[in-house]
Symmetry: C2
Subunit: 222 residues, 2 copies
DNA sequence: GCATATTTGTCCGTATGTATA
DNA sequence: CTATACATACGGACAAATATG
C-alpha cells in the first residue's frame, strides 16, 4: 500500500477546470449573465486559453454557459420560458419515474435519507442544506427509472434550475414548504401506492413552478 | 450575385467541424469503436489540432464520441446495456408525450407526413428513407410535449440509437414492420384516443427493442 | 521487461477578424 | 470612424502517457 495515491487526479486538466468552473457557477460565485473572459480566467486559473476553451465547450453543452460567437461565453440566465420548459420536463420525467417505482428499489432509501436530512436542516435553520436535500430527493426519484441517460439529463436540468433559484432570495420559501409533501410522496411510494405518489408529485411540481415564476416576476421585471 | 456565398458559415469553425464529424459518424463513415486521430483528422480537415479538440469535446457531450484520457477519442459502440437504457428512455419519454398529446398539435401534421413518407419509400424499396422517416415520426411524438430541452435530449438518444442500427445489416427488418403500427398510433391520436395511442406505442417499443437486441446478439458475440 | 516511437495533453506566440467604446 | 479589446484560429513546442517492436 503506497502512501500517496495522489487522488485520482481526474486525469485531464480540462475536466478538473470544468468541474471547478461548474462549482463556481452553481455556487453563485459567477452570476447569471456574467461574461467569463478567456484571458482573465485563464490567468486566474493558471491554465492556457486552449484548455479553458475546451472546458467552456463542455460546460456549454451542460447548459450552464452560453456561447455567443465572437463575443464570448456567459453564465446562462434562466428566464420564465426556461423555468416553464424545465418544469414541463420535471413533470414528465419525475412523475413517470415515480409512478413505475418499486417500494424496494434502492433509490427509495436515498429518498428517505434526503427527506430526513431536510427535516433536520430545517430544525437547525440551515436553508442551504434544506435546498440541496430537496434536490437530492427529486434526483432520487429519477433514479427509480434505472436509466443512466435519464439521470444525466435530469442532472443538467437540475443544475440549470439551481441557477434560477440563485436569482432569488429567501431560499426557505422555495424549499421549506415542500418537505411535508416530499414525506407524503415517499410514504405513498413505500406503501406501494406509486400512482398516488405520482399524482401528489404532479401537484407538488405545479405549486413549485408557480412559486418560482411568481418570485421571478417580482424580483425581475421581464 | 457572387459566386461563392460560402454557405452561412455557421459562424465558428469549431461548430462547422463538429457538424461535419457528426454527419460522418452517423452516416457510418466512421465506424463504431474506431479511433479518431487528432493529427490525421486535423490534417484531413485542414484545421488546427486545437479546433478539432474543441469539436471532439462537443461531440463527446453529444454521446457520439467517447474520450479516453491520454488514449484518444473513439466512436461510441452501443452495446446491449446502451440499447436497453435507450429504450427505457424512449418508453418513458415518447409514451408520456403521446399520452398527453392533443390531436390539433402541429406535431401531429409532422407525424402524418412522416408516416406517408415511410409508406411511399417502402413502395419504392428505399429502406434508407423508410428508416429516417420512422425516426422522424418518433421525434415528432416528442415534439408533442412542447419542451425544447426534451427535444434536444431525445435527439441525442436517437443519434446514439442510429449508431446501434448501423451495426446491423438489413434495415428493412428494423423499420418496415412498424409502419402500420405508426399509422395506427397516429390515427388513435388524431381520433382523440391519446391514452390508447400511448399503450400501442409502448407495445411497439417493446417489440422494437427485442428485435434489435436479438439482431445484436446474432451479429455480435457479446 | 525494455527501449523506442507515437500520440495526447498543455502551453505559448501570433495573426486575423469581429464587436464595441 | 477610428481605436481598442477580445475571440478565433493557427502552428510550433515539449512533457507525459501510451503503444509498439
Amino acid at each position: 500500500m503506497s502512501v500517496a495515491d495522489p487522488l485520482p487526479p481526474t486525469l485531464t486538466l480540462t475536466t478538473r477546470i470544468c468541474a471547478q468552473l461548474r462549482d463556481r457557477v452553481i455556487s453563485g460565485e459567477f452570476l447569471p449573465g456574467q461574461r467569463l473572459s478567456e484571458s482573465a480566467l485563464s490567468a486566474d486559473l493558471a491554465v492556457s486559453r486552449n484548455t479553458l476553451r475546451e472546458a467552456f465547450r463542455l460546460l456549454t453543452k451542460d447548459g450552464l454557459l452560453r456561447h455567443e460567437p465572437n463575443r464570448g461565453v456567459f453564465v446562462v440566465t434562466p428566464d420564465h420560458a426556461a423555468v416553464i420548459d424545465i418544469y414541463r420536463v420535471r413533470r414528465l420525467v419525475e412523475c413517470r419515474a415515480l409512478a413505475q417505482g418499486e417500494p424496494g428499489h434502492p433509490a427509495v432509501r436515498r429518498m428517505r435519507a434526503a427527506v430526513e436530512r431536510a427535516m433536520d436542516a430545517r430544525e437547525a435553520g440551515d436553508w442551504r442544506v434544506v435546498g440541496s436535500a430537496n434536490m437530492a430527493f427529486h434526483a432520487a426519484i429519477v433514479d427509480l427509472a434505472d436509466s443512466a441517460r435519464l439521470v444525466a439529463f435530469y442532472a443538467q436540468i437540475a443544475a440549470e434550475l439551481r441557477l434560477a433559484f440563485g436569482l432569488l432570495d429567501a431560499p426557505e420559501f422555495l424549499h421549506a414548504p415542500f418537505i411535508e409533501r416530499n414525506l407524503a410522496i415517499l410514504e405513498a411510494l413505500e406503501g406501494g401506492r406509486a400512482e398516488e405518489a405520482s399524482r401528489m408529485l404532479d401537484d407538488y411540481l405545479q405549486r413549485s413552478e408557480r412559486l418560482i415564476l411568481g418570485a421571478m416576476s417580482r424580483t425581475r421585471p421581464a
